[in-house]
Amino acid sequence: MLEIRNLHVKLEEEDKEILKGVDLTVEAGRVHAIMGPNGSGKSTLSYVLAGREGYEVTEGEVLFLGQNLLEMEPEERAAAGLFLAFQYPVEIPGVGNMTFLRTALNAQRKARGEPEISAADFLKLVREKARALKIDADMLKRPVNVGFSGGEKKRNEILQMAVLEPKLCILDETDSGLDVDAMRLVAEGVNALRSPDRGFLVITHYQRLLDHIVPDVVHIMADGRIVKTGGPELALEVEKNGYADILKEVA
């Protein structure tokens, strides 16, 4: 579903190459995890996939469901089924959570030529998904993420994902800042979405999350490249020994 081939990315503003030839394929129905030291380029990869400005692709290509992803606007990528749960979700004062979610859902539906969802159906849908994530009605009424705790923001990302039902879910450190119970809720939210036609790319530093969302494949990213790929045991190894051994081995 997602094929990244030899992706090189530098910053637009300065001559700094951040991704130095990333190769990665995510198949439908599978969960891929990416781990790697701070600053290795994991968030940059997720931003480039979502279409954020400020980066320049100097080489390589990305196919998403057969389409050339890098040529699409961020909103087109979303409508095509790509979703990024942000490492740092932003606060949007003045835009209500419900208005935001409904506008997003209807925009995606419209782009796909589907009818808009009725107000009543939307309310029902959000309430049901919010209940599972223990997001209370008051949070839904507030402006997007304004005054939310770090953990609440992360849960709100998962709520959006549950409502929008994307085909490829990219989670950038959704576990960081979550307490144990919140992490279980988030993992349940993600697992509820697991299906044969949906792929996941889960960026994390900790094995903890992967205990709940068991990955099919684990990748290690270092200095802008995927340097090692393996099964769930690779995450356990990182948890136990850190990155030093792996980096030495591939150097």
């Binding site: 606007e73 909103e75 979303a78 932003v90 835009v95 935001f100 997003a104």
Partner: protein, 435 residues
């Protein structure tokens, strides 16, 4: 008394040129003395010039020079007029002239409604005590010559006395049909103790419009005011609101301005009784040849009063926004709570915003704050919205509306707030960037 520097010969000449041939409205009755006094005030200060400190950012001459610049009439197409769904008593003015046939019967329990031109013929005490009185008080410490001009010459207006809680709003509708109309209206509103009224105003009124609204809010009374200034692109407007607030009274005024070549909205509020509340807010959206000036002066002359000024402007295509806001806390006005925010969202580099916030405080136990910002749309927020599938222009629209939200929230009535929001959404849609 107004302290004035010696007038320059140019100023005297400009003032006399405007007054040449002008006659006080016929049958002025008891108002004659008030009108003559206003003429004197006007001659003492002279009409404003760009060199006056108070007019540093806004060119005043087009607001009074003769003849008035012409202004094409805006065609709103099939769009429903603002406040259309609100149950109200409608009073219609066409190019500044009252149109009784188009208006509702002015009957509303607890509310007396009359025309200024009639009231000045009768011996109506409260109107005598109000006409030109608050305007004259508002001439100090800063002169407001266009308001004095209005008191002297405005031939008509609405006079409203509220003795109870009005069950629906009084709505002044200003239609513009004549490209060269130069209209003046002077309204009086007196709320007796404990009375309540919502006053609505909408429409461009004329090619050039000079309007004064004097509002006397007695103890415990509540006055709500929502206006939507008409959308004619070329129209000019100079408006003044003078409000005097008694003890525990409430005054809330919100103005939406979309389009218009030149608009100067002055609001002058004086707290004379303790524990009163005044909120003055505005949302102005302009594209291209648009100059919008909000000038606010709040005088705290009593204890424990709360004032709030919330002004937001969205500017593009070379539009210009101005905010001058002052909070004056007089000696003894302890526990004053004064807040002021003025912000501009610039949608391109050609547009500009000038703000002059001022605090002058002569009491020691007060909490006053002010802030002013100018900025562009936040790209990080824009990306977040787009990453959720919201197309670029729609995302920009959401953020523009979000920027205006704090001002719109000042409208207490939900239906009115929804109506104003819908107008802003329509403006944003019409003024999307091409491509």
């Amino acid at each position: 008394m107004v302290a004035v520097a010696k007038l320059t010969p140019q100023k005297i000449a400009a003032t006399e040129a405007r007054l040449e041939g002008a006659t006080l409205p016929e049958g002025a009755g008891w108002a004659r003395a008030a009108r003559e006094a206003a003429l004197e005030r006007l001659r003492a200060t002279g009409l404003p010039a760009r060199r006056d400190e108070y007019w540093r950012y806004t060119k005043p001459e087009p607001l009074y020079e003769l003849p008035a610049p012409r202004a094409a009439v805006f065609d709103a197409g099939g769009e429903a007029p603002v406040f259309g769904e609100i149950d109200r008593v409608k009073l219609v003015f066409v190019d500044g002239v009252f149109d009784p046939d188009a208006s509702d019967e002015p009957s509303l329990a607890g509310v007396e409604i009359a025309r200024l031109s009639e009231v000045t013929q009768a011996d109506i005490h409260w109107a005598k005590d109000l006409f030109g009185v608050l305007e004259a008080r508002g001439q100090s410490p800063v002169p407001r010559p266009l308001a004095a001009l209005n008191t002297a010459l405005a031939p008509d207006g609405v006079v409203i006395r509220v003795t109870g809680k009005a069950e629906k709003p009084v709505s002044l509708i200003y239609l513009h049909r004549d490209e060269s109309s130069d209209a003046m209206l002077h309204h009086l509103v007196r709320l007796e103790p404990g009375a309540e009224l919502t006053l609505l105003e909408n429409g461009p009124a004329a090619a050039r419009f000079n309007k004064v609204l004097e509002v006397d809010v007695a103890d415990g009374a509540r006055f709500h005011h929502v206006r939507a200034q008409g959308r004619d692109h070329e129209r000019l407007a100079a408006t003044h609101i003078f409000a005097r607030l008694g003890q525990e009274s409430t005054f809330k005024s919100f103005t939406l301005t979309a389009n218009g070549r030149l608009t100067r909205n002055e609001t002058v509020v004086e707290f004379t009784g303790d524990d009163a509340v005044a909120h003055v807010a505005g949302a102005a959206v302009g594209d291209g040849d648009f100059h919008h000036d909000d000038t606010i002066f709040i005088t705290h002359g009593a204890e424990r009063c709360e004032s709030r000024q919330v002004f937001k402007k969205v500017l593009r295509g070379g539009a210009m926004g101005v905010f001058q806001g002052k909070i004056l806390v007089k000696p003894g006005a302890q526990k004053t709570d004064g807040y002021q925010i003025s912000q501009a969202l610039l949608l391109d580099e050609g547009s500009a915003f000038r703000a002059k916030p001022e605090l002058e405080i002569y009491a020691d136990d007060v909490a006053c704050s002010h802030g002013s910002t100018t900025g562009a749309i936040d790209e990080t927020l824009l990306f977040y919205l787009r990453a959720r599938g919201i197309p670029l222009e729609e995302a920009r629209g959401l953020l523009i509306l979000a920027f205006l939200a704090e001002a719109i929230e000042e409208i207490e009535d939900e239906a009115l707030a929804a109506d104003i929001t819908a107008r802003l959404e329509a403006w944003i849609r019409r003024h999307r960037r091409a491509g």
